[in-house]
Amino acid sequence: MPFKAGVFRSFLIPCMLAFLLQACASESYIVLLENPDGHTGAVTVSGEKGKQLIKKAGDGALLDGSQAPAPVAADKIREDFGEAMAARPKVPKRFILYFQIDTTLTAESEGQLPTIIAEAASRPAVDISVVGHTDTMGKADENAALALVRATLVANLLKDKGLKYHNMTVESHGERNLLILTPNEVYEPKNRRVEVSVR
């Protein structure tokens, strides 16, 4: 009998360890989710017990890095994170407006202004950034000034047409933030733009 009890004990202890690790999993952990845009990226956890890479939506891992990523039940995600997920604000929306020449919007971009105003009206405490850009034709400092003129023009057009907002910033990135990468002194209509981020 004592021999049997010893066997039982040596079997039981690993089981209890396994159970404890499971219990730990309900404490500090992360779960990767699909992005609102449908893509899935990746996260790494680096803790004192190791480093893990999670790249599959629905997989989770302990924050101490001790366990390889494993699927987390949807019920558990809902139970632990339902309130945080329900509080997620609307995903920001970005509009790109293009210019014919210098400071004249294309007709299509001008037609987008009411859409931007409606989008802003649908959000609580909406904050908006209006950022002007140029292509690489001409001098950098002149392009910085031109991009600011473009951004200011779009901001004023939006306000004139009835845009309401909690906060707005108007900035210039000049030729330093190209949408289409080009060498210097390249005429590129897609780089002559104002980006409006509605958050």
């Binding site: 404490e27 500090s28 952990y29 992360i30 779960v31 990767l32 989710l33 699909e34 992005n35 609102p36 893509h39 899935t40 990226g41 990746a42 996260v43 790494t44 956890v45 680096s46 803790g47 004192e48 302990l62 924050l63 101490d64 890095g65 995600i77 632990d80 994170f81 339902g82 309130e83 945080a84 997920m85 329900a86 509080a87 997620r88 604000p89 609307k90 995903v91 920001p92 970005r94 959000r123 609580p124 405490a125 904050d127 950034s129 909690h166 906060n167 910033t169 990135h173 000049g174 330093r176 933030n177 981020s197 958050r199």
Partner: protein
């Protein structure tokens, strides 16, 4: 001494304005939540500004959602504390950084443009481990 060095390098920085402007705004709150910035604690509501260094807290049965300038989204469940220790968003200067610390509670995180342009510039620290973000959405829970 260290603080002096940090301060003077901030003053010389071309993104000085960044330190003077909000980095995000509270969009929604249920129950009790607060934003503590520059040593001043305010009760959070839709429209409350968030600054670099702000500490964000929710109470029992409460939640809060915040959207940052670079389109990063953080929302918190009950009994949560998160600080935004470093936030730099100046893409034209190539200055990008988002470092926070989740001390306790639950968070739903959707990464924004900082993570898209420079993934290694984003980190969420916790008492047990550090999270690196490669352009994605995740949920995380820290129990005390």
């Amino acid at each position: 001494m260290f603080k002096c060095v940090v301060l003077s390098s901030c003053l010389l920085s071309p993104v000085l304005w960044a330190a003077d402007a909000p980095i995000g705004w509270v969009k929604n709150v249920t129950g009790d939540a607060s934003v503590s910035s520059h040593g001043v604690l305010v009760r959070a509501e839709s429209g409350t500004a968030v600054w670099q260094g702000s500490v964000l807290r929710t109470g029992a049965k409460s939640s809060m959602g915040i959207t940052f300038k670079d389109e990063t989204i953080m929302s918190f469940g009950p009994n949560t504390q998160m600080s935004v220790d470093e936030y730099l968003y100046a893409p034209a200067q190539g200055q990008l950084s988002l470092v926070g610390k989740l001390a306790k509670g639950t968070m739903n995180y959707v990464s924004g443009i900082i993570a898209k342009l420079q993934p290694d510039a984003v980190a969420v620290n916790t008492p047990v481990g550090m999270i690196g973000v490669r352009g994605t959405q995740f949920v995380v829970k820290v129990e005390e």
